[in-house]
Amino acid sequence: MKTVTPRKDLLSFDDMSREEALAILDTAKPFKDLFTRSVKKVPTLRGKTVLNLFYEPSTRTRTSFEIAAKRLSADVTNFAVSTSSVVKGESILDTIDTLQAMQVDYMIVRHSASGVPEYIARHTKASVINAGDGYHAHPTQALLDAFTYREIYPDLQGKRIVVAGDILHSRVARSVFALMHLLGVEVGTFGPAPLIPPTIPDYVKVFTRFEEVLEFNPQVLYLLRLQLERQTANFFPSMREYHRVYGVTTERFRRIREMGMYIMHPGPVNRGVELVDDVMSYERSLINAQVENGIATRMAVLYHLTPEVKTRSGETEDHA
């Protein structure tokens, strides 16, 4: 494995090299192999404290991080934060000061506002992992997607992916674009025009018809979850029309299957909107693999980061 500069936080892929991304993905592999053993735990983070700081409800991602941290033998605490108090003006810094005093080593942060994990990272010595902030980034999701993709195609250079759906409001899309591009994957996108702003990165190819997606012939079609409230804001007229024009319909699923395309989705799925139910049992649906790989990938991320929290002078880690 190539050596990379120690990293305190994982906030986005803005400052990440291809080597570093590959290093994290390579580390995830042995962690996944561990899961088939009877003892699924390693002592890597014994004595360390991992804190789940979720300002936005999320059972799936939080649980995934919790299991990942526990399999590394860390102590895990879930810090319950009321989302309403933040809006009322309760300072995030007040919370961080409190947690800092508790000597937390890793903070997993999710927040509905972009930039909060970055803000917290600047004010704490703990390693901060962005578990999703606003529309900005969701780097561990993209890493687990890339890990899943690499299980099928170990070398992603020159491979293709199309991310379909609501790009404008999607942190997953931004992170998937960035990481896939970093790994040499050709990136395309498909969805209603109001949800695909012209300000997306230049390297993303925009398709306006499903036929064009098929011509591009990506190895993976990545469907984003559609937030149901978007239709009330007139980004598109109705769910029915969305499914007909931008979703995986029964007819389109037949074509996808014929071509052998893989399907990914960050979950949870809106059946009948992004895709028809049949896709869930499709042999090339990677949706369950993504969930499973989330744990190994998040273990690799925790393993990869180096908190600035120091032990008292003269003491070594082993004595603690």
Partner: protein, 425 residues
């Protein structure tokens, strides 16, 4: 004190673009004589100004003093002290206080408070509509009688062109300016920064330029139709400048302002979600910056106003989506503009004086302070060689929400003169 000579000051005289070294005699708070060399009579105070620029003191037509209602962010006293520190001897206080300044009584109340708490005269703007709700005109004649010079709803953009029309018509009898903040709320609602590549990258909801462009165009058409007297606040877009240029050429009675931060920053500067870069309208693009500067040079934009908007640390420490819009500007305007525009030669001293001192005074109906014999002596002494460091320790404002915090700027204000008084200690 009543008789002084400012010796060998570099001065930009009316009609000239480059500084000239002259002596300036001040008698009883007025300029008595300007000549290359003046012989001081006995008993006359002599102030050595060698190497320094003596220029008309500044005037800011857009200041939020926050009192009454938000005294934790700013007060009349702290806000006017910040003005003095920045070289301003005249300011226009905005009416979006709590309660808002929307009656003659409130205008009188704020002016009487300012008389005891401020060392500089404070002009007051009243609300255009009651409670800034955009529905019912506020009692404009009452406010005019109490000395209000402008009516504006500040950042509550008028949604109703009918209300704007009636306001522009009604104010004609009262020598009152209608201040408008051009926006199309249906397009800007929910946004927190300029809509563009940077907002996509940061994952922040955008405010498209067209929200302002449509607002400016609409406001100008109404003003043209009813021949009203309008002042456009906070212009930030190139297309907005183009609209104003076009309508001014057709004779519409309009003035317009932009801010130092819209001239000197753009949306790409908004890194690391620093809420000191969050303001309304938002920082736009490099092209917009250039168009604003061009607008100031050709007179499409009449003045630079800081839009001084204090907010507490607590409020600005919220996440970017929830933190309030606005930054303070009084104490950084002159040095920042000098540093970024005058030093590299993009903007002349005479242009700076016109846009930051003379034009805003004219807007507020105040006597001019250009350096002419007989004019009131309101001036500041500026050392272009010295540097100014902006920090929490140096700022007089109660709030520190400025993108220049921690920065060092070329140039320093050494003294501010108001009539016979030296305002800086």
């Amino acid at each position: 004190m009543s008789h002084r000579i400012f010796q060998q000051a570099r001065v930009i005289l009316p009609g000239q673009t480059e500084p000239k070294t002259v002596d300036l005699r001040v008698h009883d708070g007025r300029i008595a004589e300007i000549a290359p060399n003046l012989q001081p009579a006995e008993g006359v105070d002599v102030i050595d100004c060698r190497g320094r620029i003596l220029m008309p003191a500044l005037c800011d037509a857009h200041v939020h003093l926050r009192e009454p209602g938000q005294e934790d962010a700013e007060t009349i006293e702290s806000g006017t002290e910040a003005a003095i520190a920045g070289g301003f001897t005249r300011i226009l206080a905005m009416p979006n206080t709590d309660p808002p300044i929307d009656t003659g009584g409130m205008v009188g109340f704020v002016q009487s408070m300012a008389k005891t708490r401020s060392r500089i005269p404070v002009s007051v703007a009243g609300c255009l509509t009651k409670g800034r709700e955009g529905i019912k005109l506020a009692e404009i004649a009452d406010m005019a009688d109490q000395g209000a010079v402008m009516v504006t709803d500040c950042n509550h953009a008028l949604q109703d062109a009918y209300v704007l029309r009636r306001a522009l018509e009604y104010t004609r009898h009262f020598d009152m300016i209608v201040g408008v903040y051009p926006d199309t709320p249906a397009l800007s609602a929910g946004g927190v920064m300029h809509e563009g590549a940077a907002s996509f990258r940061l994952g922040l909801p955008g405010i498209p330029a067209m929200a302002e462009e449509i607002g400016i165009e609409r406001e100008l058409r109404v003003a043209a139709a009813v021949n009203g007297r309008m002042h456009i606040q906070n212009v930030s877009t190139a297309e907005g400048v183009a609209s104003i240029r076009r309508w001014k050429a057709r004779g519409v009675n309009v003035t317009a302002e932009t801010t130092p931060h819209h001239l000197l920053f753009n949306h790409e500067d908004l890194r690391a979600y620093n809420t000191a870069f969050k303001m309304m309208p938002p920082l736009r693009t490099r092209e917009d910056q250039e168009a604003l500067l061009e607008g100031l040079c050709d007179g499409t934009l009449d003045m630079i106003a800081t839009g001084h908007a204090p907010h507490t640390d607590f409020a600005k420490n919220l996440d970017f989506n929830h933190a309030p819009f606005g930054i303070i500007g009084l104490e950084t305007a002159l040095c920042a503009l000098h540093d970024a525009l005058v030093v590299p030669g993009k903007f002349s001293w005479s242009q700076l004086i016109e846009r930051l001192a003379l034009a805003p005074r004219k807007l507020l109906g105040l006597p001019g302070n250009a350096f002419e014999v007989g004019a009131p002596f309101e001036a500041l002494l500026f050392d272009p060689e010295e540097k100014t460091h902006i920090s929490r320790d140096t700022l007089k404002s109660r709030s520190f929400n400025t993108p220049w915090l921690g920065k060092t700027l070329q140039g320093a204000i050494q003294q501010v003169y108001l009539g016979g008084q030296d305002l800086k200690s």
